[in-house]
């Protein structure tokens, strides 16, 4: 399976925050041949361990996605919903969505609402039915819909586009790193974390349980390449592994940042320094765990994050994998 095929498989699995069973099963299958001991904790984190006597290292990529949770049915069968994770209502208009049972729909706004006044409360999911009764046969309150945009390879083969590259691209990078990592004394934990989109909640408890010496989160970061971009981030898609210095949740421990930079230089891995003014990652939760964990991050600069069609450079995924594999086998 090449990187793109792996992206397709992992991104298209169902797994909004709090409902990660299906995506966990998908990833567990891919982990199986790699020789790690796997456990699932109470919050659903998939923890993959390769024991060693050396320094304890934890990596985390979150496997949960955004979602729309059904809250109320209108008489005409329209489904009102709340957001799981940070979703801009404008991104939702006309999005294709699907529920865990495969029921699909599209998101639209109330008839009396102007486009510029759209809020989540004024949106609904249309399941292609005419009555409340029909809708309630398909979907129940509490069911969660996800974007139904397939992962496609853009012309030229450089970029993948589709839903939930945030952070399934990170999951793929981590899977590749788990495969590539050389023989090492280091005690390695690779976590596919849950509920990141709700505030780094899975990684928080996973870090507490693992108690690592160092932690590296693999996630997406902002790509600063729209025309007239106001420069809210420092990296552009295709820049290689984005080595995190700061986001809203963390200022990475200088020791971890320096280590990642020196490994990238030594192994000739393309990289760029990553500062973003918004967004958080699992590193933010890890650093606050126990008496503090020096944490850092490697990321892929992602275009249109949290929209139904995100875009990530495939070579960035591979560069992140190489850098994580190098960190996993590094001497401390």
């Amino acid at each position: 399976m090449n990187t793109f095929e792996m992206l397709k498989k992992v991104c298209e699995s169902y797994g909004p925050a709090g409902r990660e069973a299906e995506i966990r099963k998908t990833i567990e299958k891919l982990v199986k041949p790699l020789g790690y001991k796997t456990t699932t904790d109470a919050l659903g984190n998939l923890i993959c361990h390769k024991a060693g006597k050396g320094v304890k290292l934890m990596f985390a990529a979150h496997m949960d996605s955004l979602g729309l949770i059904a809250t109320y049915f209108e008489e005409g069968g329209q489904v009102r919903f709340g957001c799981i994770g940070g979703i801009n209502p404008f991104r939702l208009l006309a999005a294709s969505v699907r529920f865990a049972n495969g029921v699909c729909g599209t998101v639209e706004k109330d008839g009396d609402v102007d486009f510029k006044d759209v809020t989540i409360e004024k949106l609904y999911i249309d399941l292609g039915v005419q009555t409340k009764e029909e809708a309630m046969k398909l979907v129940s309150v509490g069911d969660v819909a996800v974007y139904d945009s397939p992962i496609r390879l853009c012309e030229g083969g450089k970029f993948a586009m589709g839903a939930y590259l945030d952070d399934r691209a990170g999951c793929v990078a981590q899977l590749l790193a788990m495969e590539q990592v050389k023989e090492t004394e280091n005690d390695l934990y690779f976590v596919f974390s849950t509920q990141e989109e709700l505030g780094l909640r899975g990684a928080k408890v996973a870090t507490f349980a693992i108690d690592p010496d160092y932690m590296v989160a693999c996630d997406v970061t902002h790509s600063d390449d729209s025309p007239k971009a106001p420069h809210v981030g420092s990296c552009k898609a295709g820049c290689g592994a984005a080595i995190k210095v700061m986001d809203r949740s963390v200022i990475c421990h200088p020791e971890v940042v320096d280590k990642l930079v020196s490994l990238a230089k030594e192994k000739n891995i393309r990289y760029a320094m990553d500062v973003i003014k918004a967004g958080g990652t699992d590193a933010g939760a890890a650093q606050l765990s126990l008496d503090g964990v020096p944490a850092g991050g490697v990321s892929m600069a992602c275009r249109y994050t949290h929209s139904p069609n995100e875009m990530v450079s495939i070579s960035d995924v591979e560069d992140c994998a190489k850098l994580m594999a190098a960190f996993a086998a590094a001497e401390f």
Partner: protein, 346 residues
């Protein structure tokens, strides 16, 4: 201890949140003569301990943060540096500032402005968005990209000075003046009999939401913790109902949900008994100091915030009073010696 020189040493150090390794060793050095043990831990928290000599003693944690607000480089435009804020920087203070770009060796920089001659009347009265400002380091684009990587921290550049008999002006008085006050406390505790072990902590990353104090407190596992931070002292523009503190009239004891009532009561009693002037303030929320983070670690900690009045907070010219620092140091020392039974059973 020489208060002004300790302040000068620490306040002129350049250590924005996340880069406390640039000041932690110096802070440990200032504290070292007055404690049994001091070390800088893996998260760059400075931790000093004064032991009472009893086995399994209770623990008091006194904490002041050693990080400072600052800037961080996010990109390069024709040799000039784009930047973002680290912590709550007041953007009105930015134009025409001298800064230190914390490369190795550091670079001088100035935050450039457009000359007033070419501004419209309306523009002259506007504050400039941070996105539109750049740091000029006198380099070409090629040189700047090479010399100043994205992610480089930037600090305000101010030399500490005194005014009148009692006031000190510098950057980073928030909160290194409080750390120095805790060193005064430690000095006053020399040869005093203590009912508990006293931990004096210089915490990292407070400006970003107490990210240093939370793990530090987890590690120490204190019974009582007091965060020592700055509060707003009177300035000519405040209204009476703002209930701000007065400069040079003593430390400020906080009341509210973010303060354990037993600790508040004890501090007031200690202040009265030892004739140490103090002021009271009300904080209706959990509070914005390390205490708010520490209160909910492990199975909970009895916390309090005691503040030092400060003018012009979060600007490069913060003004504080030596008298207040001495009074704050003394209040916490007497509290540490005699917290009372109610507090010791917290």
């Amino acid at each position: 201890m020489d208060i002004i020189e300790s302040l000068r040493l620490l306040c002129e150090s350049t250590a924005p949140s996340g880069f406390e390794h640039r000041v932690a060793d110096l802070a440990a050095q200032v504290l070292e003569p007055y404690v049994d043990e001091v070390y800088v831990n893996h998260m760059n928290n400075v931790i000093g301990v004064i032991r009472c000599g009893k086995k399994d003693a209770k623990k008091l944690m006194l904490v002041a943060h050693i990080d400072e607000i600052g800037l961080m480089v996010t990109g390069h435009d024709e040799g000039q540096l784009r930047f973002t804020n680290v912590g709550g920087v007041d953007r009105r203070m930015l134009p025409s500032r001298e800064v230190t770009v914390l490369t190795e060796p550091p670079l001088f920089g100035v935050i450039g402005t457009v000359a007033p001659h070419v501004l419209t009347e309306a523009q002259r009265n506007e504050s400039i968005p941070m996105e539109d400002l750049r740091i000029d380091v006198g380099l070409t684009q090629e040189q700047a990209v090479e010399a100043v990587p994205v992610g480089t921290p930037v600090s305000f550049r101010t030399e500490l000075f005194t005014m009148g008999e009692d006031t000190v002006v510098s950057k980073s008085m928030d909160d290194r003046s409080c750390f120095v006050s805790l060193c005064i406390t430690a000095e006053l505790l020399k040869d005093r009999k203590l009912p508990w072990d006293v931990y004096i902590v210089g915490s990292a990353c407070e400006e970003l939401g107490y990210r240093g104090a939370i793990p530090a407190a987890y590690g120490i596992d204190p019974d009582v913790a007091i965060a020592v931070d700055v509060c707003h002292a009177w300035t000519p523009d405040v209204k009476p109902q703002n209930n701000v503190s007065e400069l040079a009239e003593g430390p400020v004891i906080t009341m509210g949900p973010g303060a354990c009532p037993a600790v508040t009561r004890s501090l007031k009693r200690v202040g009265k008994e030892h004739r140490i002037p103090f002021q009271m303030a009300v904080q209706p929320r959990a509070g914005g100091t390390d205490a708010a983070g520490i209160q909910i670690i492990r199975d909970g900690v009895a916390v309090e915030t005691v503040s030092l009045p400060l003018r012009y907070m979060h600007t490069p010219l913060e003004l504080g009073s030596i008298t207040d620092m001495k009074l704050l140091g003394a209040l916490l020392a007497e509290f540490a010696v005699d917290p009372g039974e109610e507090v010791l059973s917290c």
